[in-house]
Structure formats: structure tokens, C-alpha cells
């Protein structure tokens, strides 16, 4: 009895038992790892995943935050599609995305091309052009924008000199959205930096070869630069469109929290916010949120599908050879 009992204990202390100890150690390490991750995990589950699942449920309910949610099936969605303000918010958001994203990327690419050339003070220029990206989303810049685009301010005066007597943009439902577009274009620094990184990757020997073949600068841009940086362009298009769909802060601040005048800056998220937090229709707001998620997912899917036609990855080209 004693012998039998002793055997495992003694063996445990001998070399053959090392793997068990190692496994034990690994388990401890895993546990420690999860414990260290736990603040993030708890945050993710409690503050992101949980609320998302809850909001999916609320999207199918009538919920005013006070009385328990009532299941209404697809009612929120049908009401939403027939709601003229919802339609307006979709129209405003699409206009914003379609106008602002290409213009911003065009400017970012143009400036990146200029800054890719070696010249004195290069770092300074880069920093200067990047700066608006850092501060552009702040509330104070929103206020500055309000001032810039009001009557008799700089924009109004400039356009008057050019013969355009339109007055300030902020109070004018026909123009105010373009003040927001200008605000986001001004923040072209972030995609510019990504373009710059992409431009660095273009092999210089391609340009040399093309120059020998007699290709001009435009030709070189179309046939070498653009195809080579197309993955970077794709990434920027994707990122900027997704961002543009979710615009909120600038519309909220520039319009003095009303997303107006006359709903002219009623971007999607602003209407969502009004429905949820001002009109206590949380079910409707949740339905709106999920519709946006699906719409953005669709746009992303279309972009991914389209990249087969115009995005060139280096390894693919080599594989094709």
C-alpha cells in the first residue's frame, strides 16, 4: 500500500514528469494571459458585443427606455422606409459620401505626389498637411467652420469677389452640406500619408525603363504609379467611405446641434441620435443602426468585389507570369 502510494509521488519529481509540469505551467500562463486581457475582454463583452446584440433585439421592438420593449416584428423598418425624414437623411448622407470621399482622396493623392519628390523642408510640408487630420474632428474646429462660412466672413467675401452673391453657407439649406464636405476634404492628411507610403514602394527601375521607352509623366502615372499603388488606393477608398457614412460630429457642431437648417445636414447618424435620445424611440433608432451596418457592409462587399477589376497585387502579377 505504502509502496504503491509512494510511487507516483516519487516519479513526479523525476525527469519523465517534466511535460506535466510544463503543461501546468502553460495553463498557468494561459490563465495569467486571460487575466491580463480581462479588462479588455470585459470591456468588449459588456460595452461592445453585449449592447450590439441587445440593439439587434431592440430593432424589432417598440422601446422608449422606460417600459419594457414590445415585440413589433419588422414595423420599425417599414415605418422607417416610409419616413420622409429618414429618406432625407439617406439622401444627405449619400450626397456627402459621394461628393466628399472622391474629392478628399483626389486631393490627398495630388499632394502626396508632390510631397513624394525630394525637396527642402519636406518633413515640414508633410507635417503641415497632416495637421488638420489631427484637429479636424474637434468641436472647436466645428465652431471655427461655422464662423468661416457665415455672412461677411472669409468664404462669403471671397465668393463675392468672384461674383457669387450667395451669402453665408451656414444658414442656407442649399449650401451648408458643402461646408461639411469642405471640412472633411481639409482633413486629407491621413489618406495622404498612406498614399505617400504607397508611392515609396513603386520600384524606381520601372520609371527608368518607361522613360527610356519615351513615356511622358502622365503616361508614367497612368501605367506605373496608379496600378502599383492601387492596393493603397483601394484601402483608402474603403476606409474613407466607411468613415463618411458614419459622419456625425461635424454635422452636429457646425449646425449648432440641430443638423439643419431645414434638415440639410441631417446625416444618418444625427437622425438616429435624435430618434433615440430626443424622441425616446430606441427601437426605431436601433433599426436605423442595423440598417446602416448592413448598408456599409454591402458597400464594402461591392468594393471588395470590384477590386478584382482594378487592384493589382504584386504577388498576383508574378503568379500570373
Amino acid at each position: 500500500m505504502t509502496l504503491v502510494e509512494e510511487t507516483p509521488t516519487t516519479t513526479a519529481n523525476k525527469p519523465p514528469a517534466a511535460p506535466t509540469a510544463a503543461r501546468e505551467g502553460r495553463r498557468r500562463e494561459n490563465l495569467a494571459g486571460y487575466l491580463f486581457m480581462s479588462p479588455w475582454l470585459a470591456g468588449f463583452v459588456l460595452l461592445t458585443a453585449g449592447p450590439m446584440i441587445a440593439s439587434l433585439y431592440y430593432a424589432f421592438t417598440d422601446y422608449n427606455l422606460f417600459t419594457p420593449p414590445q415585440w413589433v416584428g419588422f414595423d420599425n423598418f417599414t415605418t422607417m422606409f416610409h419616413d420622409p425624414r429618414w429618406q432625407k437623411s439617406v439622401q444627405v448622407t449619400l450626397t456627402y459620401v459621394v461628393v466628399a470621399t472622391p474629392l478628399k482622396l483626389l486631393l490627398a493623392l495630388a499632394v502626396a505626389l508632390l510631397l513624394a519628390q525630394k525637396r527642402r523642408g519636406q518633413a515640414l510640408y508633410r507635417a503641415a498637411f497632416y495637421l488638420p487630420s489631427l484637429i479636424g474632428a474637434s468641436v472647436s474646429v466645428g465652431f471655427v467652420w461655422r464662423a468661416l462660412f457665415s455672412d461677411h466672413a472669409i468664404v462669403d467675401r471671397t465668393q463675392t469677389v468672384l461674383g457669387l452673391h450667395a451669402g453665408g453657407w451656414i444658414g442656407n439649406p442649399d449650401y451648408v452640406l458643402y461646408a461639411l464636405v469642405a471640412l472633411t476634404i481639409w482633413q486629407f492628411g491621413a489618406p495622404m500619408v498612406i498614399f505617400l507610403a504607397g508611392l515609396k514602394q513603386v520600384p524606381p527601375e520601372l520609371y527608368e525603363a518607361a522613360a527610356i521607352d519615351g513615356a511622358g509623366p502622365l503616361r508614367r502615372f497612368w501605367s506605373i504609379t496608379l496600378p502599383t499603388i492601387s492596393p493603397v488606393l483601394f484601402f483608402n477608398v474603403l476606409l474613407e467611405s466607411i468613415h463618411a457614412f458614419q459622419v456625425f460630429g461635424s454635422a452636429y457642431v457646425v449646425s449648432n446641434t440641430q443638423c439643419g437648417p431645414a434638415d440639410a445636414t441631417l446625416v444618418y447618424t444625427c437622425y438616429l441620435y435624435q430618434k433615440g435620445f430626443k424622441e425616446s424611440q430606441m427601437g426605431f433608432a436601433a433599426a436605423m443602426a442595423w440598417t446602416l451596418v448592413i448598408a456599409v457592409a454591402l458597400v464594402t462587399a461591392v468594393l471588395f468585389w470590384s477590386q478584382k477589376k482594378w487592384v493589382h497585387y504584386e504577388n498576383e502579377t508574378e503568379a500570373a507570369k
Partner: protein, 435 residues
């Protein structure tokens, strides 16, 4: 290899920092959390109670209220007050979130548009019970203003001040234009006054009267109706189409300010920004415009339909208590002190309207021109015998007021035809009543 790694860990002292160490750390943080939670609890061991008190308003109001809180804490050393404040819109967004989580402030500023909304949701205490328990006096309220805090047989708020709607005017412009508004003047006289101001002073007459829900309410009252019945709107879609069509015509003719310009000066008023010479709003707003604008501002009578009846009534800011507060008695004592104590009246002045109780009204003697103007205005209105009774608003009135303003501005901008706008408004009102 494995042995090496293990030893390496030992060497670093990792062996001690595994489960037990981590659990200790975790336990420590939990304990700390527990302590914080205990610290947040509202009952101290020595019988001290703490109450959260929230209000909206500008800086001067906050400074004054904090003074009154110190006064209260001196008199009731066992009750501590934690102040919370924000501007109007932020206040109600925060309040809604807190209240839905069962955690609203114990005592808070309130207004007629929110009484039924939050009573329906079970948030408001019926203060009658506290009054009969002797913790709160409902006596000495002036001109029956106490009714402003009542709905469906309950006392849901205790008024701190009385306001009436008024026409706030730019005194300089009116004088220069030679317009002298008299009690009982008619709408036609008002429109021709605006015309005269526009033609002689080259600024608009009115900032945008037809987007103000409380003014349309007065207009309807002059015709024997009101903006709200107990559960619905008190007018038809055709009425509103007419009201907005007329408004739009007056924008086009220039006697009502260009909405594009009004929009640009927000959150300042078009009146204090010098874009127009008159604005319909609550009389205590003249205090704000006096600080904001360059001109001098005064109060003029509401135009009438029949030469006498303005449709006015006493509105009020009030204090309400949370139905689920842990300290109903102390909350009631606090409200009682805030509405009856003469010193509090002296500190607050007419910031929230003319002081509601005789104790405070008698204690405060206005010295500045604006406050004197408000007092004189309300006295005249009361003497004229035109004050009607306030009707409690149905649940959803706050959302409807915002929609009335927003859609009215769309009409003003020419972005919505009055008939389509009225239809949109009725649709949104229906949803707001149901929410």
C-alpha cells in the same frame, strides 16, 4: 529546454506572481470598487443624507443656485446637496438616460412640457403626500401659480417662479421707428408696426413668430381653443397650414427676419444679434438678451384678436422630486426651503421668473431696469384680468415643441410647402403622443 524555461521564470520571480498574486490584485481592485460604491451611497453612518439636485440654465443661474445650496446646508447640516447642471437640451438627454436607469436626481428643475411625460413613466413624486406630512408647504403661492405644477390631480412640481409670454422688443429701434405698443393692440396693428420698422429702420420686424409653439398657443386661446387638449392637438391641419402660409408670406415681404441669417447667429437670438426688432418669448428671457445684445430691451403686450384678450397665462419653472428617492422627506424639505426661504428669493431674483411665493416676492426688491420691467409687465397683465388657466401638456409635448420649431423653420426657408409641412407635423405629433 522546458526545465530551463521554468527555471527562468522562477528566477524572475514569476512563480509568486501567478494565480495567487493575480487574485490578490484582482481582489484588491474589487475591494476598491466596493469602497467607491459605498462612498457613492447616499446615507452616511451619522445620519447624514445626501441628495442630488439638477437644473439647466446659464452661468448666472448656476452661481446663484450654488449660493442657495450653501444656505440650505447651513440650516440643515444633516443634508448634503450634490449639484448637477447642464444647458437645456443636454439636461433632458442626460435626464432621460438617468431616469430610464432608475437613477435620476432626487430633486430637479422641471417645466410644464415634461410633467405628464415623466409622470406616465413613473418618475415624478406626487408632492401632495409630503405636503400633508408637513415637510412641504403649498401655501402663499402668488396668483394661483401653484396650478402650473399640477396634472391629473397630482402636484408633480412646485413652481419657483412665474413667467408669461411677452413680446420682447428692441427699445431703441421701436422708438426710432415711432412705434408705441399699447395693451390690447391687434395683430393688424402689429403687422403694420413691423412694416414701419422694416421700411424706416432697414431691419426685420420679427425674428420668426410662427415657429414659436407657445405663441401659437396664445393665438389659439384668443379664439377659444389651445395648442393642446388633454391628449391631443387642439387645432386642425388646415389651421396650421394657414398659420404657416401667413408666416411665410411675411418672411418673403421682409417684415419677418430672413431665416438664413437667424440660423447663422444661433444659439444667440435674432433679437439680441440685431437682426430683428421683436421676438415672442418668455418674459424672463429679457434678462438674457440684456446681457447678450448691444441695445436695450423691454417688454411689450401680446397683440390681440378682439382688442382685449391676449390668451396669456402664468407658466413656470418648478422643482420636482424623483418618486423612487431614498429620502422623500429630505427632498421635500429641500424644495420647501428653495421656494419659501426669503434669503433664497433675494439671491435668485427673477432669473427663473417672478418669485412664486409671497415670502420670496416680498423679500426681493428688483433694482435693475430689466427686472423692474418684468415685474411691471406681469403686474399689468394681472391687472388687465386677461390671465387664463394653464393646461397641462400631454406626454410628448417636448418633442412636439421641437418639431414645431424645426418644421416651421423649413417653411420659413421655403423648403417645405405649408400644407406638406402641416401634414408632416401632424404625423410627428402622433408618434410623439404614442411614444
Amino acid at each position: 529546454m522546458t526545465g530551463n524555461r521554468d527555471r527562468g521564470h522562477e528566477g524572475l520571480g514569476r512563480g509568486d506572481l501567478d494565480r495567487r498574486g493575480l487574485l490578490k490584485v484582482a481582489g484588491g481592485s474589487l475591494a476598491a470598487l466596493g469602497l467607491t460604491a459605498a462612498g457613492c451611497g447616499s446615507g452616511g453612518g451619522d445620519g447624514t443624507v445626501s441628495l442630488r439636485y439638477a437644473w439647466w440654465g446659464g452661468e448666472p443661474r448656476t452661481v446663484a443656485i450654488k449660493k442657495t445650496i450653501r444656505l440650505f446646508e447651513k440650516k440643515y447640516p444633516k443634508i448634503k446637496i450634490k449639484p448637477e447642471f447642464a444647458d437645456y437640451e443636454a439636461f433632458w438627454e442626460k435626464f432621460q438616460t438617468q431616469a430610464s436607469g432608475g437613477n435620476p436626481p432626487d430633486v430637479f428643475q422641471n417645466a410644464v412640457g415634461f410633467l405628464r411625460k415623466y409622470d406616465k413613466r413613473g418618475v415624478l413624486m406626487d408632492l401632495k403626500s409630503q405636503a400633508s406630512a408637513g415637510n412641504l408647504s403649498l401655501k402663499n403661492f402668488r396668483n394661483g401659480v401653484l396650478t402650473a405644477g399640477q396634472a391629473d390631480g397630482k402636484q408633480l412640481g412646485i413652481p419657483v417662479g412665474a413667467n408669461t409670454m411677452a413680446l420682447v422688443i428692441d427699445l431703441d429701434v421701436f422708438k426710432k421707428a415711432g412705434v408705441d405698443p399699447k395693451a390690447g393692440w391687434t395683430w393688424d396693428e402689429y403687422w403694420s408696426a413691423l412694416r414701419k420698422i422694416h421700411d424706416t429702420q432697414k431691419i426685420a420686424g420679427d425674428t420668426g413668430y410662427f415657429t414659436v409653439m407657445y405663441l401659437y398657443d396664445l393665438y389659439l386661446r384668443q379664439h377659444g381653443r389651445a395648442f393642446y387638449t388633454d391628449t391631443d392637438l387642439g387645432f386642425t391641419q388646415d389651421d396650421l397650414t394657414q398659420w404657416w402660409s401667413d408666416g411665410y408670406k411675411r418672411v418673403k415681404s421682409g417684415i419677418v427676419a430672413d431665416p438664413k441669417k437667424i440660423e447663422q447667429v444661433a444659439p444667440k437670438s435674432g433679437l439680441s444679434a440685431g437682426l430683428a426688432a421683436a421676438e415672442f418669448t418668455w418674459d424672463n428671457f429679457s434678462v438674457r438678451y440684456e446681457g447678450e445684445g448691444r441695445s436695450d430691451y423691454g417688454l411689450a403686450p401680446i397683440p390681440t384678436t378682439d382688442g382685449k384678450h391676449t390668451g396669456q397665462y402664468l407658466g413656470s419653472l418648478m422643482l420636482s422630486a424623483f418618486s423612487g428617492t431614498e429620502h422623500p422627506k429630505e427632498a421635500a424639505q429641500f424644495i420647501d426651503f428653495m421656494v419659501h426661504d426669503p434669503e433664497v428669493g433675494k439671491i435668485m431674483g427673477y432669473d427663473r421668473g417672478i418669485l412664486a411665493t409671497t415670502e420670496q416676492y416680498d423679500a426681493y426688491k428688483p433694482t435693475d431696469r430689466t427686472s423692474k420691467g418684468i415685474a411691471a409687465f406681469e403686474e399689468e397683465v394681472a391687472k388687465a384680468g386677461v390671465l387664463g388657466k394653464i393646461t397641462p401638456h400631454p406626454s410628448g409635448a417636448d418633442v412636439i415643441e421641437a418639431a414645431f420649431l424645426r418644421i416651421g423653420k423649413e417653411v420659413a426657408q421655403g423648403k417645405s410647402r405649408p400644407s406638406a409641412a402641416a401634414q408632416q407635423f401632424f404625423g410627428e405629433a402622433k408618434a410623439a403622443f404614442a411614444a
